[in-house]
Amino acid sequence: MPLVALRDLYKRFGATRALRGASLELEPGSIHALLGENGAGKTTLVRALYGQVAPDSGEITVGGKPVALASPRDALELGIALVHQHSMLVPALTVAENLLLGERGAEWLPPARLREAAREILTRWGVSLDPDARAESLAVGEMQRLEIARALSRGARVLVLDEPTAVLAPPEVAELLRLLTALRDRGMSIVLISHKLEEITAVCDRVTVLRAGETVAAQPLAGLDAAQLGRLMVGDALPPPGRPPATEPGPVALRLAGVRAAGLASVDLELRAGELVALAGIDGNGQRPLEELFAGVLARESGAFEVLRPPLALLSADRQRTGLVLELSVAENLVLPEAARGGAPPVFRAGIVNATELARAAADAIARFGIRAHAADPARTLSGGNQQKVCVARALRAAPGVLVAVNPTRGLDVAATAAVREELRAQARSGTAVLLVSTELDEVLELGQRILVLFRGALLEVPAGERSREAIGRRMLGEGAR
């Protein structure tokens, strides 16, 4: 009998059908892989198991008994713990406060007792952290270990980890996988969400594959190789990886020399016209400040920042927060940067909208990038892929000499990902200097003519002769850093 079973779950968010017949059966003492593309419903499914999503229909059983999970409290009481994809710590609280948060016990909890209890848990689970450190000061990997220790200290017998390796460098991934195996050997049941096939084949016992909200396979992992898993995941053979564009670099288009800013140690970078440079690195090593620097939102403290072939256009990592104004229409989003410049022609004349030009601009973008939406639709109503196409269209409206794209394919399906990557190549071929900042190693290898690594706010060059996952991975952990 499975320890935990989710059977035939359905869930709809507005127009999106996140789950449509998703199932998962977890055996005791096993590591179960939950595999699927971005948007396949993996996170929704485990959030349902953790009481954070109310399924529209379907059944969840624990130990064979149907359960109603109205909140995380219900799940925690049944011994189910979820480590979310993004840290679920309270940044302003200390390590000790975070560890004890939500735990039941004596109401009187002075700082000394809190610290003592926290130290005990940290020692027991082999996490060496200062109990008085604020959570916001921890590195991403430390946050994750803290969250796992917290889950274990609450007596979890089912541990669900949502894409835990996405924020880790390869050696850290290996360490995490060792920990999970050790826990399994002690009888813990683990659900590991990932879309990285090699991690799954390394440690998992069984696999459930979700495609478009539906469970399409549930079977033992033995005998499956990465290629077969990939086919199960996308329903077809994975498209062959592309290659970096073969272009000859032209004159320098962007130059950063010794740029320092909050979160950036010292950035030196030269980008040439027609060149596609990829910037790898683990999330949290300066991607956000670098993006803000290019957006003109972060002031630099020193150093030179020259755009020699203006304008510079930015594809923001977070479409919904910084990329688009979701309440405005597709057309309005397209021309917002022009409105910012006091209303530039032809869409604006003397600051007033020219309706004909606005309609034309939107129609052009919709046709050129295959955006499936009307000009007047609020951006909110578009799918992630179409939202990203609007962002691309907007970035290219200005005919940029320099294009910076930060994690441009995050959260997109296979087709949309391929389209965005091809557009970046096309831009490089047409003479634009393209900088791709990506935490996806595969993407970096597929697109970058030159590869750099962002580590603790500074750049490390990967020599052309060392283009391998291993060499890049070592630099992601700081090898070769000054």
């Binding site: 957006a295 003109g296 939102v297 930015l314 923001s316 927060r321 910084t322 990329g323 688009l324 104004v325 979701l326 309440e327 405005l328 229409s329 309005e332 021309v335 917002l336 940067p337 022009e338 409105a339 910012a340 410049r341 006091g342 209303g343 604006f348 600051g351 007033i352 909208v353 609020p378």
Partner: protein
């Protein structure tokens, strides 16, 4: 949301608020039916009542417009009352002290301009505190209301007090600085045309200009606006100052068109009522016109209700508060475009 709902919901909100206020009155031993009848009579009963309603709607439309603009931009200007008072004070000061130095034809436009400028300046204080000192405009605009109130109280018993020094009020404004009445009207003045026209101008600004697009972008998502090179600080400061100018203009129109001189507390309850107007209008500039008429009718009828049905006029505030609550509560928070 369908267009029908956009019109139906405010109506339902008003009706429910009226019913609840009636229930409160009944609970306190008053006769709600008589009160309602007196209220309707005071608001629409005869031509004077109708004119009273129209005259009250003028400042409410301008203040409500300012509130709608600022709320849309994500900035909480609760200081319409203070900005109106500043405008009334400046217009009076100009009209009674220095209008005679100017050609007669300029007296009125300059008085109105002085009012708008003073309202803008009063709001600019809050804008500056927000931009430079990170002070929430919610608190600063509210506190500036109290300061403006005392400032006017001081002025009408000090520098601007009438020459005879009998009452805490200013001298009457010179005729050149007064807004003319409509032909045959008792109290309805031509300043109402301005109040009726400005919502259309603001509508065009919001939905037909680059500035309006920036402003709406900032209101919905300041982060994305910033990434698109729009400065949320600058836009919110501009909107705050603009809404202050509208309120100041309303104050000037009050003294130049209605009261003819400055009294203590020129804003009355207009400042808070304007919030109800803007919310009932769903923050739409054109919706402000009918919404201001609703609350003007309540205000005009409230006085009559107190006289003939012995029901306190402040009960109107209860209705306003209920309309605000129903406007925000029964439609879940959401913001719409045009």
């Amino acid at each position: 949301m369908t267009r029908a709902r956009a019109f139906a919901e405010p109506l339902v909100a008003t009706a429910v608020a009226l019913a609840l206020a009636g229930a409160l009155l009944a609970l306190l031993g008053a006769d709600p039916v008589a009160a309602l009848r007196a209220l309707a009579g005071g608001a629409f009963g005869d031509s004077l009542a109708l004119e009273t309603t129209a005259v009250r709607a003028g400042p409410l439309a301008l203040l409500g417009l300012g509130v709608a603009l600022s709320f849309r931009c994500g900035i909480w200007n609760i200081g319409g009352g203070g900005q109106l008072a500043a405008g009334a004070l400046a217009a009076t000061a100009f009209a009674t002290k220095s209008a005679s130095d100017w050609p007669g034809a300029l007296a009125l436009p300059l008085a109105l301009l002085a009012g708008a400028a003073a309202g803008a300046l009063w709001a600019a204080l809050a804008a500056a505190l927000r931009v430079y000192r990170n002070v929430s405009e919610v608190l600063s605009t509210i506190l500036l209301n109290f300061v403006a109130l005392e400032l006017v109280a001081w002025a009408v018993q000090g520098p601007l007090q009438e020459a005879s020094r009998s009452y805490p009020q200013s001298d009457a404004l010179p005729a050149a600085a007064r807004l003319a009445l409509f032909p045959g009207a008792h109290i309805a003045h031509v300043g109402l045309l301005l109040a009726a026209a400005l919502p259309f101008a603001v509508w065009a600004l919001l939905f037909r200009t680059a500035a309006g697009l920036r402003l709406r972008a900032v209101g919905f998502n300041p982060d994305a606006a910033r990434y698109a090179a729009v400065s949320p600080e600058l836009e919110t400061a501009r909107v705050l100052v603009l809404s202050g100018a509208l309120a100041g203009l309303a104050g000037a129109i009050e003294v130049c068109g209605v009261t003819g001189r400055l009294f203590a507390d020129p804003a009355g309850g207009y400042g808070f009522t304007a919030i109800a107007v803007a919310l009932l209008a769903r923050l739409h500039p054109l919706g402000v016109l009918p919404a201001s008429l609703v609350f003007a009718a309540l205000a005009a009828g409230g006085g009559a209700m107190q006289r003939s049905a012995a029901v306190p006029s402040v009960v109107v505030q209860v209705i306003e508060a209920l309309v605000i609550l129903f406007s925000i509560g029964f439609a879940l928070p959401r913001r719409e475009g045009a």
